[in-house]
């Protein structure tokens, strides 16, 4: 019970992190017409951050208490 409440709180923390990462002003740092490894910088950042969040969420919820 405590562990799952803790997980819920961790997810809320992640929510706040996501709000920060996918918003002004951080997002403007990557708003440049450049290619990183052949991929547009902004595109790479958004998908990278998105994948990172999903990965952390998966680790949090699937980890045994």
């Amino acid at each position: 019970m405590h562990a799952s409440s803790r997980k819920r709180q961790q997810l809320v923390g992640l929510f706040l992190l996501g709000c920060l990462m996918f918003n002004y002003p951080l997002i403007t740092l990557f708003d440049r017409p450049e290619l990183v490894l052949g991929v547009p910088l902004l595109y790479a950042y958004l998908f990278g951050a998105w994948a990172l969040i999903i990965a952390i969420v998966a680790v949090i919820v699937e980890r045994r208490d």
């Binding site: 809320v12 996501g18 996918f22 002004y24 017409p33 902004l42 595109y43 958004l46 998105w50 998966a58």
Partner: protein
């Protein structure tokens, strides 16, 4: 070669497969082996979020503004992270209150208000129409494009597209049949449709696979990987612009608001509420969905930008970007892939339409049509025997009507917009549900009127700022209204309200509608009052985790068990109703349903079962038709008052106990003080007694030593010394006797021989025996006795002791020669009083109380040698008190003293006195 018949065959084949899956899942569910009881299936069913908008529209959006399609998927990713606080709570409430739809949820939260449920339904239906028209448009366009294979045509814009319109109508009717077949085969308990969910999950796989297939084909088949697509696009200035889109004014605000909008949409779109909340079979499935569903969205969006750029690079002549997904493989004559994409598009669109129309038809039926029909007295619907058929017919009718309205919207306003822009209009409409439902989930103060006001205000702004311009742009209304404002008032322009420019129309509408919605909701809630039912429901919702399972009805009506069972059987069928009542009877420890009492508990149970089918507001209305509608009856009120007064009485009792306890504590404290005082007095007494004993002993010893040491002492002197020794010895003896006497008196061990006494006689004896003393000091004595004195009850020797003591004191303190002592005896009430008066020095008022204490003598003990033991008066007082009388003194310095005591009359003389 893709023939028309092949396309149609593929479509029907695919849909036949869906039916097979749904049929199989339903059969498994009936057998008790649910197919959808899996977190993966649940996550895939959530992916009904990805519609033709995602499948075709995202690429169109990306071709227009780069990453602008992404907030629609990032928002839900973020929102679902709050599941522990939002979705989980909604799930629990839905389960407890048997919620059947979003409108039902809203109505239940605000006191089972049928009006609110109806308003939510109307907003949902109107708001979703653009979204449905989007699906129709996407499918019919894809059909049209496919039929012109291998030519890639641009669907014409404007009014002259008879073919597309006819196709769209066919598609609409076909989808209606499809939804009816899936969603309204029977009246389900709790509106759960396992077969539908299984089919939706399968559709999610199909659309993902086909989109990934075309994405991989474009990126790695047509181009040489991501680097190649992006590299070539970056080389073109018009496309390079798409890679850094935030430089555009307002783009960041649009991005942020799109994120918020889609956060609301993932919860409040009727179909998302349906799959995420209503169809959920296990709360724990959210654990997996919280990452699997975002992963799905990430996967289906991965190739959007490459396809968009690939399309722009390929069709330099400007094909419709909304159909790149289909036209790219078609252009390169990939027939199988083209067909797969077409089927993927159909699956995306049908999934949305089926779930959306089923959810909306439930709302229309339960929260709009039924409440009206039930209130329509002339129909006398409440008496109807079987409702199941009627419910299904209403839902089927609603599905057809909704799709026709969607088609109508497509004809009127759908052509002028790109897919995503159409969909966002719907998002903005359902976002209006967020304030009353999200705030209402945590704040009990939100009222029904507040929710009504907020929804009306927000929806009105939405109508004015989004729907009206959409109609205007299609040429149905003059563009003047949009461009110049109504009556030419510039600041009322629908898309630039109060001069707010720069923003996207959807963002613009969101800002104003949210201000209106939240503002009205809070203002009305904070200034108005809530009804009892509202407060009850608010508590049920907000505190759902605090009081698990504890619920009841605010209304305290009763109905006969038979009437309730027949009511249930009209909606659920006789067999199911009988089963439910039997189970309830068992849970109550009653043998059969016939023995159930129609109490409020049974009423609440029946209402809950009914709510699972026709919604809370309608269920409440239906149960009310059979219940003896008694606003809290006298009995209930008395019970409530009784309970309250019991509580009050109990607390009074507690207070009383506490007071008693405090009193006892105080008593104990006082007793303890008294004990300490007595202990101190005893110590004082002992030290005083020993001191008093030592004084005569010291004299005796001193004189004895003189006599012992001086043999040649003068005989006269010797005689005097011996006389002193004798006197001191006598005093010592007297002192010891008195101490013993006092101790005996105080301990109550003294022996008393009470008899009827004539006080006159005792006084005469006492005066007689002290006459020698009086003569010795030349003090006169007078006796004044009343004739015929009634006898007193006392111990003769003790009374004598008191009198002798008082008389000897009087002599001692009277001046020699002129002294005069008067003894007076007279009856007083039921006692006899004796006064001994002298004309001596008197006693100061301050010392009058002290003289009755042990070893206290009047006068300065330093200058006067004490004339007595200091115990006489203390003993007298003890004796008089013991005999039932009082002893006191009246005196003033220089004016003599009067010592008085009373003794009670003998019993028979007291009775004789009373009789007189």
């Amino acid at each position: 070669m893709l023939q028309g018949w092949l396309v149609v065959l593929a479509s029907f084949g695919y849909i036949g497969l869906l039916f097979a899956i749904a049929w199989y899942a339903d059969r498994r569910a009936r057998a008790g082996r649910s197919m959808i009881a899996s977190p993966v299936i649940y996550s895939l069913s959530l992916a009904v979020y990805a519609t033709a908008w995602t499948f075709y529209g995202s690429v169109g959006r990306a071709a227009h503004d780069g990453v602008g399609f992404l907030p629609i998927y990032i928002g839900p990713t973020l929102m679902i992270l709050l599941w522990g606080f939002v979705l989980r709570k909604m799930l629990r409430i839905t389960r407890i209150a048997r919620i059947t739809s979003l409108a039902d949820f809203a109505a239940s939260r605000y006191g089972k208000s049928a009006l609110l449920g109806g308003l939510v339904t109307v907003i949902a239906v109107i708001g979703i129409l653009p979204y449905i028209s989007l699906q129709l448009k996407a499918v019919s366009s894809s059909f049209e494009i496919l039929l012109s294979y291998p030519e890639v045509v641009v669907p014409e814009r404007g009014g002259s597209m008879p073919f597309l319109k006819v196709t769209a109508l066919y598609v609409a009717m076909f989808m209606a049949l499809f939804a009816i077949a899936f969603g309204t085969r029977q009246v389900d308990v709790g509106e759960r449709h396992e077969g539908m969910v299984a089919a939706i999950a399968f559709e999610s796989i199909v659309k993902l696979v086909s989109f990934l297939a075309v994405g991989i084909y474009v990126t790695f088949g047509l181009f040489d990987g991501f680097g190649d697509v992006f590299g070539r696009a970056a080389a073109r200035p018009d496309l390079a612009k798409l890679m850094a889109p935030f430089a555009t004014e307002g783009a960041l605000a649009n991005w942020a608001w799109m994120t918020v909008l889609s956060m609301f949409a993932i919860v409040f779109l009727p179909r998302q509420f349906q799959v995420a909340v209503i169809e959920n079979v296990d709360e724990r499935h959210l654990n997996t969905a919280v990452w699997l569903f975002p992963l799905y969205m990430l996967a289906i969006n991965l190739f959007v930008l490459p396809i968009a750029l690939g399309g722009l690079l390929t069709f330099s002549w400007g094909a419709d970007a909304d159909s790149f997904v289909l036209s790219l493989p078609m252009y390169h004559r990939q027939e199988a892939l083209t067909l797969l994409v077409f089927v993927g598009g159909i699956s995306a669109a049908t999934g949305m339409v089926i779930v959306e129309t089923v959810a909306l038809s439930t709302m229309v039926c339960n929260d709009l049509v039924m409440p009206i029909l039930l209130r329509w007295k002339r129909l006398d619907l409440a008496r109807r025997a079987d409702f199941t058929r009627l419910l299904l017919d209403i839902r089927r009718g609603a599905i057809v009507a909704i799709l026709l309205l969607g088609y109508f919207y497509f004809i009127v306003a759908g052509e002028a917009y790109a897919l995503v822009s159409i969909g966002l209009i719907s998002f903005a409409a359902v976002a209006q549900f967020a304030p009353p439902l999200l705030i209402g989930l945590y704040w009990k103060g939100g009222s029904r009127n507040g929710a009504l006001a907020g929804l009306l205000a927000g929806f009105s702004v939405w109508l004015y700022t989004l729907l009206l311009p959409a109609f205007a742009r299609s040429g149905w209304l003059g563009m003047d209204l949009v461009e110049a404002g109504p009556l030419g008032i510039d600041w009322l322009r629908p898309t630039h309200l109060f001069g707010l420019a720069v923003l996207d129309p959807v963002t613009h509408s969101m800002i104003w509608s949210m201000i209106a919605n939240v503002g009205a909701y809070l203002a009305v809630s904070l200034t108005g009052r809530q009804s009892v039912a509202e407060r009850h429901q608010a508590r049920l919702f907000v505190d759902v985790f605090r009081e698990p399972g504890k619920r009841g009805t605010a209304c305290r009506a009763t109905a006969s068990a038979g009437a309730l069972q027949s009511l249930l059987s009209r909606f659920l069928g006789g067999e199911r109703a009988a089963d439910l009542f039997r189970a309830y009877a068992r849970s109550r420890g009653v043998r059969s349903a016939d023995e159930l009492r129609g109490d409020p508990d049974l009423l609440a149970f029946a209402e809950l079962q009914l709510a699972g089918t026709i919604g809370a507001a309608s269920a409440h209305a239906m149960v009310a038709t059979v219940a003896q509608e008694q606003a809290p009856g006298l009995d209930e009120v008395m019970t409530i008052i009784d309970e309250a007064s019991q509580v009050i009485a109990y607390s009074h009792e507690l207070e009383e106990k506490q007071r008693e306890l405090e009193a006892a504590t105080a008593g104990l404290k006082a007793a303890n003080e008294r004990l300490k005082e007595l202990d101190r007095l005893k110590d004082d007494f002992i030290s005083t007694v020993t001191h008093e004993l030592r004084t005569p002993l010291t004299s005796i010893r001193a004189f004895s030593e003189i006599l012992h040491d001086n043999a040649d002492i003068d005989p006269a002197e010797r005689h005097r010394f011996l006389g002193l020794i004798i006197k001191e010895s006598e005093r010592l003896t007297r002192l010891i006797n008195q101490v013993l006497d006092l101790a005996k008196l105080e301990s109550g061990l003294a022996e008393w021989q009470n008899a009827e006494l004539d006080l006159n006689e005792i006084v005469a004896d006492a005066v007689g025996s002290t006459s020698q003393l009086f003569k010795g000091r030349s003090v006169a004595i007078e006796t004044e006795v009343a004739a015929a004195l009634p006898p007193v009850s006392a111990d003769r020797d003790r009374v004598m002791q008191v009198l002798l003591n008082l008389l000897s004191n009087a002599v001692k303190f009277s001046p020699a020669g002129t002294g005069r002592v008067r003894v007076r005896v007279e009856p007083e009430g039921n006692c006899v009083r004796v006064d001994v008066e002298d004309n001596g020095v008197g006693i100061e008022a301050a010392q009058q109380a002290a003289i009755f204490e042990k070893f206290r003598q009047v006068g300065d003990t330093l200058t006067h040698k004490p004339a007595g033991t200091g115990l006489g008066l203390a003993i007298c007082r003890q004796i008089v008190m013991r005999l039932g009388g009082r002893l006191w003194v009246k005196s003033s310095p220089g004016a003599g003293s009067v010592f008085s005591f009373t003794l009670p009359l003998a019993p028979h003389s007291a009775a004789a006195l009373a009789g007189e």
